[in-house]
Symmetry: C2
Subunit: 342 residues, 2 copies
């Protein structure tokens, strides 16, 4: 029996906004398993903003995607064949061989998850790198202290929506979020944000001042650009910024680099700290996060949203939609059931 897997590959590197034609869906034969390997049928594939950076031929914290080779990224799936004593058929595992429906993996490069505790998809989102990113940002990078005012951009997104809730659970007196649609702003209220504004209603600096007239102590930055500039203006002395992402500038072209915050010199007098981070550098905090977040979910203190797109053939649409802000909460692709049979 020869199994065929489908995978998404990059075929050209975009300068500016990516298009469908920069990707292709390819069928490949699944190799035989070697000792220690598993065959995993993916159930959900994680689609994340950082993947935009990997389309550029620039070495960042992870290497760029290679042309005409499978893309990687977070995924969760079921073990359908195993040549490892560590994993049994039926186990559900999280791993990095996303953007494909069937994956051959070394067992050591998978993490088994408990789907009686939370649905499989949650291990890509609130209990995965997404939730961990929000938690590290406000626990380690720009720690929130009780009574503070916290601003989160892209607050209805996967990381932002969790960050706002972490801020509240850390004792923030006020949590302000920005988002791009009225529906998202309404959702922020339900998630416990105290105030929100639509970043399309410019100038953002005035919107933020209305929402937090006394200024902010912490800014969790997912977008960069104009919102970062507005946050620098609003930050109080000794304010802190967790630089998590800059989705507003990811699709700038090489010829037109995005403007930087024109008021960064305020960071001197206000004694601000701006700190970029990649969550994989904070593995030593993972156990603490796992326990705390699982507890919050169990007691209903944290809620999470998912935007699920069905079918690997629509994974690129999901990704392009993510870059346009079409998701609320975590953007996921559900791999069509049955594609794994040959």
């Amino acid at each position: 029996m020869t199994l065929t897997a489908r995978q998404v590959q990059v075929v050209s590197r975009p300068d500016g906004w990516p298009e469908s034609g920069d990707f292709q869906l390819v069928e490949v034969a699944v190799p035989e398993l070697s000792d220690g390997q598993l065959l995993v049928r993916n159930q959900f594939i994680s689609v994340d903003p950082y993947m935009r950076g990997k389309l550029n031929d620039v070495r960042s914290y992870t290497p760029p995607y290679q042309l005409n080779a499978p893309m990687d990224g977070g995924a969760v799936g079921e073990v359908v064949a195993s040549r490892s004593p560590e994993r049994a058929v039926g186990d559900v595992v999280v791993h990095q061989a996303g953007w494909r429906d069937l994956a051959v993996l070394d067992a050591a490069r998978t993490r088994r998850v408990d789907v009686t505790e939370a649905p499989a998809s949650a291990y890509l989102g609130v209990l995965g790198g997404t939730g961990f990113t929000a938690w590290v940002g406000l626990t380690e990078i720009a720690p929130v202290r009780p009574g503070e005012t916290v601003f989160v951009s892209a607050a209805a997104g996967a990381v932002g929506s969790i960050a706002g809730q972490v801020a509240r659970l850390r004792g923030a007196a006020q949590v302000v979020g920005s988002a791009g649609t009225p529906a998202k702003l309404a959702r922020l209220r339900e998630l416990g944000f105290d105030a929100g504004f639509d970043y399309h209603d410019r100038p953002v600096r005035e919107r933020l001042r209305e929402a937090a007239p006394d200024g902010i102590d912490v800014y969790f930055d997912n977008v960069g650009g104009e919102q970062l500039e507005a946050a620098i203006a609003a930050l109080k002395p000794f304010g802190r910024v967790a630089l998590c992402g800059a989705i507003s500038v990811y699709n700038a072209t090489a010829a037109e680099p995005p403007p930087g915050p024109r008021n960064l010199a305020l960071a001197v007098g206000k004694q601000l700290t701006l700190r970029g981070f990649i969550v994989t550098s904070y593995g030593h905090l993972r156990e603490r996060f796992d326990a705390e977040m699982a507890g919050w979910l169990r007691t209903g203190q944290v809620h999470y949203d998912e935007t699920v797109v069905d079918g690997l053939e629509h994974a690129v649409d999901a990704f392009l939609g993510l870059l346009r802000g079409e998701n609320t909460g975590k953007m996921l692709v559900r791999t069509a059931v049955g594609t794994a049979t040959a």
Copy 2:
């Protein structure tokens, strides 16, 4: 006997570069001393870049200069009359009543210094706020570790020239400085900098890459703007920036704010930390600094330069020259001898 003092006052707030006409030299009667007060005849007056910010009507970490009122700033002088048991006539004290030749001060607001240990002027520079700023920046804000590469902008300036030497004494493997003239670059070599470039030779990013082809670990920023952008490009993962000043943007007009670093989003992937600071927030470290810097001076491990302008009537020229980069090391005004006699 009525004593007359001269003092510099701001008469109009510049938008953009200040001009002589924004200031005036005023004669005022010196009031009688109250209990606990001193009359100090200033010997040297400190002229610093941060004073540009105080010309704007914006509350920063210190209040702005008031129009038609004496400016303040660091100064060192001799006690010529005392109604305090804490200070005797002949004591040399450092205080904040600069920009004038004679000052009436509460004794508690003065610090006595030992002019057998170092010349009085050194207590405004290498042993004063200037040296302390350099030391805090590379000890507390962006600590230098042995073997690292450190870049200092405005490296021939008061703070920068000390910062480069602190970096070396902290074990930096390579210290790169930028300056604005060939003479300053030559001086950097004498002070122990390993490499230097003229920031007028653009693009700065390429000059920095030539000087430190493997990148930099720490950037001590005195200037902001293009050099900050170049440093962000050159910083290695987990690189650190001490945001000390931004002289390149201080004289931007309200209508034309200076461009910010267009590559700030790199701070995410490179996990950079940019931290602004004001040295007065680090008073708890002052004793450690005093001891360490005095030791370095005594053993000849640190050298310092002074650019001295004679006469209070030329203090504004000194300040405007400082903003144009005409100083090497600390810019000081020596108050003309004899003006204190009435």
